[in-house]
Each structure stands twice: as C-alpha cells, then as structure tokens.
Symmetry: C2
Subunit: 349 residues, 2 copies
Amino acid sequence: MSFTVGQLARLTGLTVRALHHYHAIGLLEPSQRSDSGYRLYTQVDIVRLFRIQALQRLNLSLEEIAAVLAKNGAPLPEMIAQQLDELDDRIEKANALRSRLSQLHEVLTRGGEPVAGDWLAAVELITQYDKYCSSDELQRLLVYSNAEKDQWRAIIDELREAVRRDVPVQSEHAQTLADRWMQLMLSRVGGDIALAIKMKLAYQAQPDLQARMQAQSGLDPATLDYLTRALRHGNLAAWARHLDAPALERLSMPDDRMRELLRVAGELRSAMAAGEGVDGIGVQSLVAEWEALLDEFSGGDAAIKDRMHQALHADALLQRRWALDASLMEFVQRARNVGRNGRGIHGRA
Amino acid sequence: MSFTVGQLARLTGLTVRALHHYHAIGLLEPSQRSDSGYRLYTQVDIVRLFRIQALQRLNLSLEEIAAVLAKNGAPLPEMIAQQLDELDDRIEKANALRSRLSQLHEVLTRGGEPVAGDWLAAVELITQYDKYCSSDELQRLLVYSNAEKDQWRAIIDELREAVRRDVPVQSEHAQTLADRWMQLMLSRVGGDIALAIKMKLAYQAQPDLQARMQAQSGLDPATLDYLTRALRHGNLAAWARHLDAPALERLSMPDDRMRELLRVAGELRSAMAAGEGVDGIGVQSLVAEWEALLDEFSGGDAAIKDRMHQALHADALLQRRWALDASLMEFVQRARNVGRNGRGIHGRA
DNA sequence: CTTGACCCTGACGTACCGTCAGGGCCTAGA
DNA sequence: TCTAGGCCCTGACGGTACGTCAGGGTCAAG
C-alpha cells in the first residue's frame, strides 16, 4: 500500500510543498515512484516521517534531523519516551504560564496595575515556553550507538542480578557497577553533566519517570534503588578517605543538593571549554554557588570544607564521581583565588 | 526605571537581535534613548512586549501583531483570557498526543509492529500540535472595537436585569435580547459561525470556561443559563411556526447536535464563499452531514425533515438563528439536488 | 588610559517552506 | 475518442524572523 504526496499530505496535515522539500534535501525520499514519476510513499517512509516530525517537535533543524537519522540514532521506543518526556515538560510549563497569567488576569480585573516584574516574568515564561534543550545537546542524546545500548543493558542486567543475589551495595562488585554506570552516563552526554541533570538522567526522583525508565531500559524501581544506594555509598566511601569520622558525621548531602553541585560542575566545565576567564562574572557566580554548596555539605565548618576541596583536587575517584578532572579543579581554584576582585556588575548570557 | 536592550534581553529570554528587529520594523520602539543613543525600555514598553509575545504565541506574524496593536485591539484582560484558552487547548492536545504516543510505545516494547494508520495518526497529532486557529480568524477575534464591547456589555446588563426581574424567557423582551446576542455574535466573527464554534463562543458548555467568561465579560452562570434557555425557546418557537404539535414532539435537538449543525452551516458558507461547486466532494460531504443531522432532529421522519428544510429556506427568523440566509440555502438545495451524482473520489483541502 | 563588556548601525545570510509557472498524467463523463 | 478537472512533476523566486558578522562608539573599573 502506498500514498501519493497529496494523499500523504492530507493524512498527516503537512503540505505537499513540505514533503517536496524534504525530498529535495534528501531527508525523506519516497521509496517508490510510479511509472509516470509520481512519488509513492510506503510504510517505511511513514515511519521515517514520524521520526522526522517527532524530532522537529524538539526544535531540531532539518539538517540535524538528517544527521540523527543517518546515524541510525534514536531507536523508536527511546525516541517516543523522549517525546513523552518533552510533552510532560510542556505541560508543566503550560501550567506554570497558566498560573502566572491567571494571576495577572486577576490583578487586572480587580483594577490593579501589575508591576514591571510581573510582566517580565510572564514574557520570560512565554519565550521559554517552547524551548526544551539546546539542539546540540539534544543531538548528543539522540545519537545512540548500538554498542552503547548493549553496555547499558549489560550494566542493568548485572545490577538486577546483584539485587537478586542480595549483594550488598558496599561490596566491590556493586561499587564497580556503580562506577561503570557513572562513566557510561558521562560518556553518553559527552561529559556534560549539566545536560544529564537537565534530562533527569542522573539522580532523578520523579515518580512517573521511573515507570517509563523501566519500559525504556529495563531499569525497574528496585534496581534503580539499589543503584542509587550504591552510588550514595560509593560517594561517602570516597569522602571517608579524606575526612575523619566526626567530619563524616557532619557531612550532609541531600539528593537535590548533590544534583546542584553536579549542575554547577557541569556549567563550570562548559565555561572553561568556552574559554571564559576565571574572573568573568559567569564563572565567578558559579564559583559562588560552588562555595555555598560546599559550605552546606560541610555543615559550615571551614576546615572540613577546605579538606573537601583538596580531596576533590587530588582524588581521581571522587573526580570521576563528580564529573570533574584535574584541569577543571585547577580552573576552579584559580577562580576562587581571584576571589572578590571580580567586577561583578555585568551579567552573562 | 528603564532597561538597555541587553538587560531586557536577559530578563525576557529574547535576543538583542530580536529586540533590534522589533524596533526596525516599528513593532516595539523603546520609549527613551540615552544621551549616547542607547535604547532604554520602560514599563510601557515591557507591557507592549508582553502583548507582542502573547500574540506571537498564537502564531500571528509580526505584521499581524502590529496591525492588532495599532488598532488598540485586544484589551489586556481579554487577551490574557485568550491565552489561557489557548493554553488549555495545548494541554488538551498534549494529552491527546501523549496517550497516542504511549500506546505506540507499548506496542513497540511488546515487540509489536504498529500499522501505518497508527503512525499517520501520530504524525497528524504532532503537526496539528501547535496550530490553534488560522491567523486571519484570530485577528478578527482580537480586533475588538470599543463600540462593540459596549454592545456586549449592554446586552449582558439587560440580560442580568431580566434575570433579576424574573422575566420569563418566552417573553418578547427576552427573545429580543437573545436575538440581539446571536446577531452580535455573528457580526463579531464576521458571519463565520464555524469559527465561533471553534472558539467556544456559542453554546459552550465547558465548566472551567464559565468562570473565565464571567471574569471577562461579566456573564455569570445564571445569566448564561437564562440566555441559553432563551435561545433554546426561541429556536423551538421558530420551528413551531412550521410544524404541528406531534412533529414538534418528535423534534430532538440536543446541544451538541445543534452545535454540529451550526458548524456545518458555517463550513458550507465558507465553501460557497470560496466558490466551490455544489458537486465538489467537500460540499457534498458537508451536505451529507447536514442531511444526517436533520434526520436526527426529525427523528427519522422524512416528511418532518422536508418541512424543516422548507422552513429553513423561507423563514428569516430561523435563518438568523442558524446563521443561514436565502442564498446559502439555495446553495444547499442545489447541492442536495446534485445528490448522488457527484464523483466522490477526490478529496478536498 | 586601557580594558572589556556593552551599545550602535548597516548589511548579508539562513531555514523552511509559500507560491507561482509551465507542463504532463489520469479518470469520468459526453 | 475527446475533454475537463483534479492531481502530479520540476524549477524558481519570494518571504518571515531573525542569526551573524563588520566597523565603530560608550562606559565603568582598575
């Protein structure tokens, strides 16, 4: 069974011109032609068109879409899961915008005059409304080799096995698995941990997401819990090599704060990669966040905080866990040394 | 208090270039300049920017937005209400797409292979996702003269007064009001009743919408109910002039079917205006819907249906109520006469 | 007085199509 | 068999909403 352009256009709500265009740029070539030269689209073309549309919804350019599809990236189930994720994001944003707007509406109908800040916030919500991820970030996520997929599957299988056999999370085996997981995750997002955070891939705690993650990757809640505990134990164990017992006692690292530190680390890495100076306001404000988080972790004890810093600077295991490396830590050190001498007036993009 | 372009850009998430562009085309001119020629944006500019962004969300082009704003159209509360409406629409569509996608996902993870129809439906939902209304339709709705606003207010006030005084809906006064309401609504959408339906302006029954309608126009639920009953009574009274008592008994016109007939009538009008032939498949399928609805209304009695047709053809009051007129009914008649001789193969846009 | 982040005004570039133009294909009805 | 009307083809130009330089002033801090 096959469709002509016009039929396909009617069925999908696209225009004939758009389909022609996709053909012209080699994005979607009909798999058949009639004797008279009519384009004939078949099942495979339709599925490809679905993927194209799905990717376009994520604001990828046609060129980027072509690149993703060319690499056989994004197997269908993962892609659909991604779509679902994005839809949730949209719904969330729609609700945020909605409440902001109805608040404005209320003020206006009561005869009030909202202040500039209210309008600005509303404008920002509108402009942010249909942004999900920057497209190069997305592209990295969507291009997924089969080898990589196997690696995930292997780790997850081993994790599940460990759960079944009741292997303690403190065991070396469990710790190795946790380490491999972290490594794979980092390679997956090209070292951009901030992106991973944004995509809720790491330390995620959303209820509904777990079900989808399970369907997508076979990572059921029990296994996920095991993994989380293993990561958490590994983290503490790593710190234990640098702190004494009382200091460890004081250590307080709730999940969301850990995520924050990961995010800040990721953004610092981006800043460094972008060649930003250590005294730039962007880097400086990130370092300020960094300091605040370490303050929190150390319970406000400057000595502990200092030891933590040194540990992060020197310990490769810790660095792996926190997506850091020596050069990044050096960057952070320099930024800290610049200290309060930054100008601190002009913002950053 | 004022902002430079860069500041405004950061605060709103827009780019400096975009703001420059808006200035270049005269859409948003900063109300001040610094001595050195820097653009300075103040509160009024921010509010205008909000309106621009809000309208852009509805897929109006910048030119169209400029036109709307130039006519002082779309007072803020109404605009925000419109935004809320659109957001609801989006959320609805997002949920529709979501369920369709998760169904696909389920089939895929079970190892199944969805058929072409499933993919097509998904693609269609995606492409329809961010369409709300065609922009000329929207523009008609957004450009709202003050005189018109006063007319609405006047009718609503009189309706409320009628409710308070317990004027029966059968009274001439109530009927006149209902008639004026219908007339105003038709003029509001330029006679395009299908649009009114789409915008849920007529015979709407959404729960949450009523609250907003009240805030927007002062039309509280009680008054709305009164109006609805008046319209309903007027409709039956109009038919009573053409049908005998037993026929009236059989008449069955639930709200949603009435809306359907209004929609079909509106689309027929569009088709006629577009110069489509009475034998085109588009018109023919609309007429088929029309016939089916009349069958339903008449309870399947061909004689009653026939009388209804004649009444619609001849009675100006009925025509006003149903957004018809003599020329449209003639068009319908011709289309019906063409009957089953149409080709019925090629679709329409 | 320099430096670096900001601002200005052009001016050209780009993505994703919309919209003809000029011409062939195909099927139903005369 | 012819023709009309709807579909299809391949160019080719146009258009919107900006992105992205280029070349050059502005401003505050050190």
